[in-house]
Symmetry: C2
Subunit: 444 residues, 2 copies
């Protein structure tokens, strides 16, 4: 068979070769590749059926892959890269030299590239995992005219040309120039004269949310990503920052609603997958209701003697839950946006305490008026329910603001602290407050 291939290639009997290849397993074809010359390999690869080309490619040895990639036209490479599985792409990339890697990444679509980056070496949700390596790289001794020439020559493939980065021979980031700077300065100026040297950058390991916050704050259209030695390794462009902002907001919203976050749009998420996102917290919260169950059982004599007490449980727990989640959601969002940090804890708690007093007293008064004058529930019952309400609101708001802050301090995700935990705690405490007041006042 081997002889056969060589011979057919030498004789340029390509149609015959094609017919032969179409029925072979990719792994089998790959074996024969190793025995061909580089030139013959390139020819034979192009004779492969489109569907199996990528599969064959994955099976080849790294040095053959590299040689093929170098020989590929952009279209050919793109066709292969589009067909690759991410993990395969990562395997290939890990064996390639930097220039081949960046050529591969350039021909991957955004999603693929992100996945490749993510799997490659950067932690998920790190700046490194969302960066692109397609930026314009300039030297400080270039003139504005040189820079334009460079951009005209190399700019086509870059994700943005509007912010260009100046690095030294060791790829250390030295400054940036925007095309606006270039346009508004004289052709003879050197970049050193006009470049911004006070560059804001992120590290590959920084959180992508931090990078996105820089875009919000400074209105950048791109931000450079450097490694530990401050060598420029990529850039994050504003469109990727927007994706991060949207994703992170969705993630926070999902977590606050006791859903395990997913990246997929709703209609493309399967029923089983949605089930798996939702059932863990539902189960956990259902089982944690054992607390409230036990508390009610413990005070059974109270509500057996005063049946009406039971009817206020939903209102008390509901108001407690709502009060708590108002606080927790506000604090979680403010933490996400960087509006507050752990250092503001006391300030936040003091503010929430005052808000809680205002809300609690207002609700208490309205509730008392309603119970005593509209529902005619009796003064003692009205006092019990209303004072329990005030206590519940106070407690709920303090728990609601302090748990997310605590989570932040412990490097946990504040968003998870929203409803689930807080509701369970607030539910339990509000019942204890309620029944405690009731048993005292009613002397049960």
């Amino acid at each position: 068979m081997h002889k056969n291939f060589m011979q057919l290639l030498e004789d340029k009997k390509y149609q015959q070769l094609k017919d032969l290849l179409i029925n072979m397993e990719p792994a089998d074809i790959a074996v024969h590749f190793s025995e061909l010359s580089e030139r013959h390999r390139a020819i034979m690869f192009r004779l492969l059926p489109k569907e199996s080309a990528a599969e064959v490619f994955v099976e080849l040895e790294p040095d053959m892959q590299e040689a093929l990639i170098i020989g590929f036209s952009d279209n050919e490479l793109k066709e292969i890269v589009d067909e690759l599985y991410v993990d395969d792409a990562v395997d290939i990339i890990e064996e390639m030299p930097a220039n081949v890697v960046s050529r591969i990444l350039r021909h991957a679509d955004t999603e693929m590239r992100r996945d490749i980056n993510q799997m490659l070496r950067y932690p998920p949700d790190s700046a490194g995992s969302i960066m692109t390596t397609e930026y314009v790289n300039l030297r400080k001794d270039m003139t504005v005219e040189d820079a334009f020439t460079h951009i005209r020559r190399k700019g086509t493939d870059k994700e943005t040309i509007y912010t260009c980065y100046v690095t030294d021979n060791n790829r250390i980031l030295e400054g940036l120039v925007t095309v606006k700077d270039l346009l508004l300065n004289d052709y003879a100026c050197t970049l050193e004269e006009i470049m911004e040297t006070n560059v804001i950058y992120v590290n590959t390991t920084d959180d992508q949310e931090y990078a996105a916050q820089l875009f919000e704050k400074y209105d950048f259209i791109a931000i450079p990503v450097v490694d530990k030695e401050k060598r420029l390794v990529g850039i994050i462009t504003v469109d990727d920052a927007i994706d991060v902002i949207t994703e992170e907001a969705t993630e926070d919203i999902e977590k606050m609603a006791a859903i395990i976050p997913s990246d997929k749009p709703y209609l493309r998420t399967g029923v089983l997958e949605i089930f798996r996102q939702r059932i863990p917290w539902l189960l956990l919260m259902m089982l944690s209701a054992t607390f409230t169950q036990n508390i009610i059982s413990h005070y059974e004599s109270a509500f057996l003697a005063y049946g009406i007490l039971t009817s206020f449980i939903p209102m008390l727990m509901g108001t407690g839950g709502n009060s708590g989640s108002q606080s927790s959601v506000t604090i979680i969002r403010s933490l996400s946006l960087g509006d507050i940090t752990f250092r503001d804890t006391l300030k936040v708690m003091f503010k929430e305490l005052r808000v809680a007093i205002l809300c609690g007293v207002t609700l208490g008064i309205v509730n008392f008026a309603k119970l005593a004058f509209i529902d005619r529930a009796g003064i003692d019952i009205s006092i019990i329910v209303s004072s329990a309400l005030v206590g519940t609101v106070l407690f709920a708001k303090l728990v609601g603001c302090s748990l997310p802050m605590l989570a932040k301090k412990l490097h946990l995700d504040p968003a998870v602290m929203a409803s689930p935990f807080i509701t369970t705690i607030v539910d339990a405490i509000s019942l204890v407050i309620y029944f405690d007041i009731a048993t005292r006042i009613l002397n049960i």
Copy 2:
């Protein structure tokens, strides 16, 4: 006094004038302005104490304001504009011709400009209210070289120069060219040859959220805003789109947590303001708990006979609330992101129904096992509680997904439909299901 001013101006006794002006009320000074020549007005305005200059300016007649603005240097104008209140600025702007308006807007900072635009003529949260008028406007018969000359001359003040818009003599939007296009084409090309004519734009009255979604979808750095006649009136830049995305997410989150949204960061919001954001929904939800209160009272005999029934109320209502908010929050977010529309209602409901069955049955089985074998609550009680749980989850998820869709259809804000309404409905229904099953099975 009038004579006095004229005389002092004629004699160039500026220090004396300054001392005089410092103690006068702005409105009084303004009166004298009307009696001065244009040249004298300009001089006297510059003699005003910095703090009162803007106040005096507001008091002047529109024609005097216009003449002064035209005479101002950029710095002088900026100083005034910075000092103006937005409503005053709007009053002034409404009287000015277009070129003066755009000069004023150019010297307002982003926030101010947005506020001015908003108050001017566009509905709040419309594309018109967040646009800027500082864009590069080109003609299709210009060559690439002409375009660069134009950008070099006019580009300094523009919010972005990277996307330039081509309009005809009636300012009708004809196309766009990016600086990248310009850089990668020959100097002699006309814009007509290279411009993109299939331009995606928004109308001034489109929702800002829609505009932001276009940025997410197409990775633009700017988008043109046109009026009803397709005349270009402004652009929205990506940094403003990011602000919109962040704000809208925060707004959705706040609404879902039963908070009336505010634009201000937490630490800069006063206690009373936070109270006002939170108390209306708390009151409404507290009072709507009258339903659950009545339902429980109605079934009083049931839980007086079987005290243990009461202890499961928190678990049932909690699980119902959590199940419902999982669905509503998912649907609300998907609507916000444009992932689903009203047309998907049936698809969504069918999906939620299947998820609800999976969740309900899982929770029901786990709950039954816990009650029957761990809590030893008795088979009848275990059956009652577990089947009520399944019914509650089913119902909660269907209400949770359909209410936001309905809100969307009725052009209400789906986010408001999250917890508040849904919780009240789900709470009530879950109790009815529970007690109905209980009275049937226990023959109360």
